[in-house]
C-alpha cells in the first residue's frame, strides 16, 4: 500500500513547527516501534510507555507518527493518553516532584505543601514551572505512610516534610 515515507515527513514538520525544541530523533522512535512484534494498535500502551521513557513525554511528532503507523485517530490516541495519568504530552521539568496524596499524607498536610509549591513556583497539579525545573504531580499512595507526608523528587525520597522543609529541599535542586 502506498503510505507516506516513514522517516522523512514527520521529521520535516518537526523542524518547521518547533524550531527551538530539541529535534526528535525519528530513528530512535522507529527502533522502539520495531522492538514490538507488529505495528498494531494492540501495542499502543506499551509503545507509548517506552517512548515516554525515552523522551520523558510524548512529543507531538511522536504522536503523529503513532497515529499514521497504527492507523488510529487523534481523538483515540488522546483518549488513551488522557485516561492514564502517567502519559504526558508536554515536556516536563528536569525533576518530577511527586507529592503523595494518599490518605495518610493528605491528613498530615499534603495539601498545604501543594499550596506552598504553588506560592513558590506557581505550579499546580501536572504543571511545570517557568524555568522547567520542577513538574508537580500528585500520587495516590507511594506506600510510605509511616513517613507521611512524603514526596519523591526525581529519584530521591523525602519523608515527614512540611512546607518550609519542602522549599529547603527544593533549593538543593538546580537546572
Amino acid at each position: 500500500m502506498d503510505t507516506p515515507d516513514n522517516g522523512n515527513t514527520p521529521e520535516e514538520t518537526a523542524t518547521e513547527t518547533a524550531p527551538e525544541e530539541k529535534k526528535i530523533c525519528m530513528d530512535t522512535v522507529c527502533k522502539i516501534l520495531d522492538s514490538f512484534p507488529s505495528r498494531s494498535r494492540r501495542y499502543l500502551i506499551p509503545m507509548m510507555s517506552k517512548l515516554q521513557d525515552e523522551f520523558r513525554y510524548l512529543p507531538e511528532d511522536v504522536i503523529n507518527l503513532l497515529m499514521s503507523e497504527l492507523k488510529i485517530t487523534r481523538a483515540e490516541i488522546y483518549g488513551v493518553i488522557s485516561f492514564y495519568h502517567q502519559f504526558r504530552v508536554t515536556e516536563p521539568g528536569k525533576y518530577i516532584y511527586k507529592l503523595c496524596y494518599g490518605t495518610a499524607c493528605f491528613v498530615k498536610g499534603a495539601p498545604i505543601i501543594a499550596e506552598k509549591m504553588k506560592e513558590k513556583y506557581n505550579i499546580g497539579q501536572g504543571e511545570t514551572d517557568e524555568t522547567k525545573l520542577f513538574t508537580l504531580e500528585f500520587a495516590s499512595c507511594l506506600g510510605n505512610c509511616g513517613a507521611a507526608p512524603m514526596a519523591i523528587i526525581g529519584e530521591d525520597t523525602y519523608g515527614t516534610i512540611d512546607p518550609e522543609k519542602t522549599i529547603e529541599i527544593c533549593n538543593n535542586y538546580t537546572l
Binding site: 507516506p4 485517530t73 488522546y78
Partner: protein, 858 residues
C-alpha cells in the same frame, strides 16, 4: 448471509413463550415482541456496550436466578426472562437517578425534548421524586465548528456518538477523554471538529448534548411537523425526515424507525445539512423572459403561451424532430414520465434524452445485459448482510457515504470481506478482518477485472463446465482473456498478481457478493469496456459459482436511474419498452446538432450542462446557437442564464412523486413546505403546456400518473406510491446470458508534456448544482482543494497549502493543493463541484482521464 443458518432459541419473556435466532441479546428479542426495556445506550446499528446500566432484567436458567444487562446478554434455550420486577426496577432507577442529578433538565429549550430516551425512561420507571440533592452542571457549550454544537452538560456518557463515529462512520473523530468524575466526550484536546460532518452523532445522541447548529429552532422537537421523503442528492436514495415549524424547514434528520427506508437512519453531510438550498433567497421567484440579454419577469400564463406558440411554429416549420428535451436527473419519475409523454405524444418528437445518457449511453445497455444474463441484483438493504463487497473505482465516503455505513455494519455483524479496487488509495476505515486493496494504474480498470476473471477460470475457482454449458460464447470469452497473463497484467496495472489471486479467491467462494461501481469509470473513456468486463466477471460468478452476485450500474444523482426508467432516452419507452424509431436520433450528438441548427428548440429540465458536462465549450456553443432554449430550474445556473425563458420549479421538499435509486428502489418524495415565490412543480408546468398545445393530459394528480406508469412500464407495477421503497424487478430476466466481448479499453500512452492524470469527482460535501446554496455545506468546506501524492510533492517541491497551476492541452486552472496519501503518484485529484474551479473545462471533450502537468505557483 448465505453461508450461515442460525439456530432458533426458545425462551420465555414475562411468561410468554418466544423464539429468536441464536445470539440475539435479550433487549433486541424483547424489542421484536414490542416489550419495552429501559435503556439509553443501545442501538441495533452498534455493538453492545452496556454503559448506562439501566436495562437490567431478571433471568432464570435451570432454576438459577441472575440479574443481567439485557443489552449484552444473549438469550439461551429455556431461559425465563422477567422485566420490570421490583428488584430490577430498583437497580435501573438508581442508575437513572444518578444521571438526573447532573442532567440540566432544560427540556423546553432542548432539541430532543419529546423525542428523548432519557425522558421516556424516567417516565417508564415512574421516577418522579429523586432522592439526591441536585447538582446541575453548567459549563458553556462548545461551538468551535460551524455545524455541531457540544452542550456537554446534558451528556450522559452513553458513548453512542463515540461508537457511531467509529463503528458506523469509520471516522472516530470523537472519543472519551480523561476518566472518572472528569470524563468527557469530544475531540482530541477540544480541537475544532474536523471530520466528515455526517452528523450521525446528533441523531443518535439520546439527550441533546450534541445539537445541529444549522437548525434555526431550539426545543420541542416533538412539536415539529415531520415529513418522510427521499433525499435529492446522490443516487443512494436515503429516507430523510424533513422537520418543519410554521412553514419553515428547520432541519433534516435520519429516521431510525425500524424498516423505514434503505438507510436505517444513516445520513451524510449533504443529506442532513443541505437543507439551506430549499428555502433560499437566491431561488428563482418568477418566470423570466430573456429580452435582449436582460431577464424580464413575466407571468406563468404568458410564459406557457409563449412556449406553446414557439413549439407550434417550430414543429410546423422544421418538423417535430427539431424540438428536443433533456430530462432531469433530479426530477421525479412522474415528472420525467410526463415530459417524455409531452414530447412523444403531444409534440410528436422522439428527441428526448438525459445527461447521464448523453455522457454514457452504454450504462442502460449494461443494465439490460445484466437482466438478460439473469443478474437481477438484490435490494440494497441487504448490503449489510453481504459476505463480500467489491468497491470498484468508487470513493465510498464521498460518493455513497451511506453505503459505507451499511458495509461497515456488515463488516462488524456479518463478517463482510472488503475488496477495494481504485487508482487512488481511497480511505475506507472499517472493522473487517479481510481487506484486499488493488491500487492500480489509472485507466487500467478493465485489465484488473479481466485478470480476476481469468484467475477464476484458470484456478478452477468456478465451475467452468457448467458455465460453458449455459453461456454460448464462453470459449470466446476464454479466448479474449488469454492476453491477461500475470506478467502482462502486473505490468499494465501495477497490482501484484498475488493480490488479484486473493481477490479472485474471495469472490469465487460461496457468498453473497455485491459490486458497487463508481461514476469515476465514466470519465476514463473506457466506461463501456469496464462495464463489460464487470458483466463478464458477474456472469462467471452467477453461473459458475455458488451464492449470489449483485451489481448495480453507476448512477450519479437522486433520480439518474428513474430518468432512464421513464423513457427519457431516444431508444426506449418507459420501462425500457422497445419502440420503432421513426425519427433520426438527433440527441445522440445533441450539442453538435444544436450548433449545426438541426435542433431548433431545446428544453432543459433541471440540469446545468454548462457546468456539469465534460464538453463545456461544445455545450456552450450549442446552447448559444439553438434558437429557442427553455430552462426549468430552481436556481439561476449558468445554463439558465443562456435561456430564452426560465421557469421556476420546485425543490424536492416542495413536490410529490417518487425517485428511483441506483439499486431500483422506488421511493416516495413528499412535500414538506410550500413552493418558493411563484415556483410551480414541473408536473403542473408540463400539464399546462399540454393544455396550451390543445392536447391536455387526462391525469389530474400524481397518483393518476403513477397508475399510468404502472400500465405502460410493467416492471414498475406495485412500486407506487413508493412508501415501502420496493425495488422494481425486470419482468423478463435470464433469457439469454451472453458475455460481452469486444473492445477491452486501453490506457492512453502518457504524453511527455502532460505526464500526470487528472481525476475529478464529487466532493464529500457537494453534488449537483444546488449544494453550494446550502450555507452549512459551504461553511464546512469553503474551498476547492486539489490533492497530490507525497512522492509527487517531493519531486516538485510542493507543500500542502501551496497553489498549483494545472495545465491541460486546452486550458489551465489555479487551485490550492494538499499533499495526501489518498492520492497515488502520477495523479492529481480535484473535486468538480466548485463553480469557480471549473475542472471540466480542462477536459473539453477529451475522452479518458485528462493528461495534465502541474506547476507550483508563487
Amino acid at each position: 448471509m448465505s453461508t450461515v443458518v442460525k439456530k432458533t432459541i426458545n425462551f420465555t419473556l414475562n411468561g410468554e413463550p418466544i423464539s429468536a435466532p441464536e445470539g440475539t441479546v435479550i433487549l433486541d428479542a424483547a424489542k421484536r415482541e414490542d416489550v419495552f426495556i429501559t435503556n439509553l445506550c443501545s442501538s441495533p446499528k452498534l455493538k453492545p456496550f452496556a454503559a448506562c446500566r439501566t436495562c437490567m432484567v431478571e433471568t432464570v436458567v435451570d432454576g438459577k436466578k441472575e440479574l443481567v444487562y439485557s443489552c449484552t446478554h444473549p438469550i439461551s434455550e429455556g431461559m425465563a426472562v422477567r422485566t420490570d420486577t421490583e428488584e430490577t426496577d430498583r437497580y435501573n432507577k438508581a442508575c437513572l437517578e444518578m444521571l438526573l442529578v447532573e442532567h440540566p433538565l432544560d427540556c423546553p429549550i432542548c432539541d430532543k425534548s419529546g423525542v428523548c430516551p432519557l425522558q421516556d425512561n424516567t417516565d417508564a420507571l415512574n421516577l418522579y421524586n429523586g432522592r439526591f440533592e441536585i447538582q446541575r452542571r453548567n459549563e458553556p457549550s462548545i461551538k468551535t465548528n460551524p455545524i455541531i454544537e457540544f452542550y456537554l452538560n446534558r451528556c450522559i456518557m452513553c458513548g453512542m456518538c463515540v461508537r457511531i463515529c467509529d463503528e458506523t462512520q469509520g471516522v472516530q473523530a470523537l472519543d472519551y477523554h480523561k476518566r472518572g468524575y472528569k470524563i468527557t466526550i469530544g475531540t482530541a484536546n477540544e480541537e475544532p471538529l474536523d471530520c466528515e460532518f455526517c452528523g450521525q452523532c446528533i441523531t443518535i445522541c439520546p439527550t441533546g448534548a450534541l445539537m445541529d447548529l444549522t437548525s434555526e429552532a431550539r426545543g420541542l422537537a416533538s412539536m415539529f411537523t415531520n415529513t418522510e421523503t427521499t433525499c435529492n442528492f446522490c443516487s443512494w436514495g436515503c429516507t430523510v425526515k424533513l422537520e418543519t415549524k410554521k412553514g419553515k424547514l428547520i432541519r433534516i434528520e435520519g429516521d431510525e424507525t425500524f424498516d423505514v427506508g434503505i438507510n436505517e437512519g444513516n445520513l451524510c453531510a449533504k443529506g442532513r445539512f443541505g437543507h439551506g438550498m430549499v428555502q433560499n433567497e437566491n431561488r428563482i421567484q418568477t418566470p423570466l423572459m430573456n429580452v435582449g440579454g436582460e431577464f424580464k419577469e413575466i407571468g406563468w400564463d404568458e410564459a406557457i403561451q409563449t412556449i406553446a406558440e414557439r413549439i407550434t411554429a417550430t414543429v410546423n416549420r422544421s418538423g417535430p424532430e427539431s424540438v428536443a428535451a433533456i430530462g432531469g436527473e433530479i426530477l421525479t419519475n412522474e415528472e420525467n414520465y410526463l415530459l417524455q409523454k409531452l414530447f412523444r405524444e403531444v409534440i410528436g418528437s422522439n428527441q428526448v434524452t438525459n445527461l447521464n445518457h448523453v455522457r454514457a449511453p452504454y450504462v442502460n445497455a449494461f443494465q439490460q445485459k445484466c437482466f438478460e444474463g439473469g443478474i437481477v441484483s438484490k435490494p440494497i438493504t441487504e448490503l449489510a448482510e453481504a459476505d463480500v463487497v467489491l468497491m470498484f473505482n468508487t470513493d465510498i465516503p464521498s460518493e455513497y457515504p451511506v453505503a459505507g455505513n451499511s458495509i461497515r455494519k456488515g463488516a462488524i455483524f456479518a463478517g463482510t470481506d472488503i475488496l477495494i479496487a481504485n487508482p487512488r488509495n481511497v480511505e475506507f476505515r472499517h472493522e473487517s478482518r479481510t481487506e484486499v486493496r488493488m491500487t492500480y494504474k489509472p485507466e487500467s480498470d478493465a485489465a484488473v477485472v479481466n485478470r480476476i476473471s481469468r484467475i477464476l477460470i484458470d484456478n478452477n475457482l468456478i465451475d467452468s463446465a457448467k458455465t460453458r454449458q449455459t453461456i454460448p460464447n464462453y470459449d470466446a470469452l476464454v479466448q479474449s482473456l488469454s492476453k491477461y497473463t500475470s506478467s502482462y497484467t502486473e505490468e499494465v496495472t501495477g497490482v501484484s498478481d498475488a493480490t488479484l489471486v486473493q481477490a479472485a479467491e474471495r469472490l469465487g467462494q460461496n457468498a453473497d457478493r455485491f459490486i458497487l461501481i463508481g461514476n469515476d469509470i465514466l470519465d476514463t473513456g473506457q466506461g463501456e469496456a469496464i462495464l463489460n468486463a464487470l458483466l463478464n466477471l458477474s456472469l462467471l460468478l452467477q453461473y459458475g459459482g455458488e451464492g449470489s452476485i449483485n451489481i448495480y450500474p453507476p448512477r450519479e444523482h437522486c433520480n439518474s436511474q428513474g430518468v432512464n426508467d421513464m423513457g427519457m432516452v431516444p431508444e426506449t419507452l418507459p420501462g425500457y419498452q422497445p419502440q420503432n424509431l421513426n425519427q433520426p436520433n438527433m440527441v445522440a450528438d445533441l450539442w453538435k446538432n444544436c450548433s449545426q441548427g438541426t435542433i431548433k428548440m431545446l428544453w432543459i429540465a433541471g440540469e446545468d450542462p454548462c457546468h456539469s458536462s465534460s464538453q463545456a465549450s461544445k455545450v456552450k456553443d450549442g446552447l448559444q446557437t439553438v434558437p429557442f432554449l427553455v430552462v426549468q430550474d430552481i436556481y439561476m445556473t449558468e445554463t439558465a442564464r443562456m435561456a430564452d425563458i426560465v421557469l421556476p420549479t420546485c425543490s424536492y421538499a416542495e413536490k410529490e412523486g417518487t425517485f428511483t435509486n441506483m439499486s431500483r428502489h422506488v421511493q416516495r418524495v413528499a412535500p414538506a413546505v410550500l413552493p418558493e415565490g411563484q415556483a410551480r412543480p414541473d408536473f403542473e408546468v408540463f400539464s399546462d403546456l399540454a393544455q396550451a398545445l390543445n392536447k391536455p393530459f387526462t391525469h389530474s394528480s400524481v397518483r393518476e400518473v403513477q397508475k399510468e406508469i404502472e400500465t405502460v412500464a410493467p416492471s414498475y407495477k406495485g412500486t407506487f406510491p413508493g412508501k415501502k421503497s420496493a425495488q422494481w424487478i425486470p419482468t423478463e430476466s435470464g433469457s439469454q446470458p451472453e458475455f460481452a466481448i469486444g473492445d477491452e479499453g486501453t490506457a492512453e500512452t502518457p504524453s511527455q508534456d502532460y505526464p500526470m492524470k487528472l481525476i475529478t469527482n464529487n466532493h464529500m460535501f457537494h453534488i449537483g448544482s444546488y449544494s453550494h446554496y446550502a450555507k452549512a455545506l459551504v461553511d464546512i468546506g469553503p474551498d476547492c482543494v486539489a490533492e497530490i501524492s507525497y512522492e509527487d510533492s517531493q519531486a516538485m517541491n510542493i507543500n500542502s497549502g501551496d497553489r498549483i497551476r494545472i495545465q491541460s492541452e486546452t486550458d489551465f486552472l489555479d487551485v490550492p493543493v494538499t499533499v495526501t496519501d489518498r492520492t497515488t503518484p502520477g495523479i492529481v485529484y480535484v473535486p468538480k463541484n466548485w463553480v469557480d474551479v471549473p475542472v471540466n473545462k480542462l477536459r473539453n471533450g477529451h475522452q479518458g482521464l485528462i493528461p495534465v502537468r502541474i506547476n507550483k505557483q508563487d
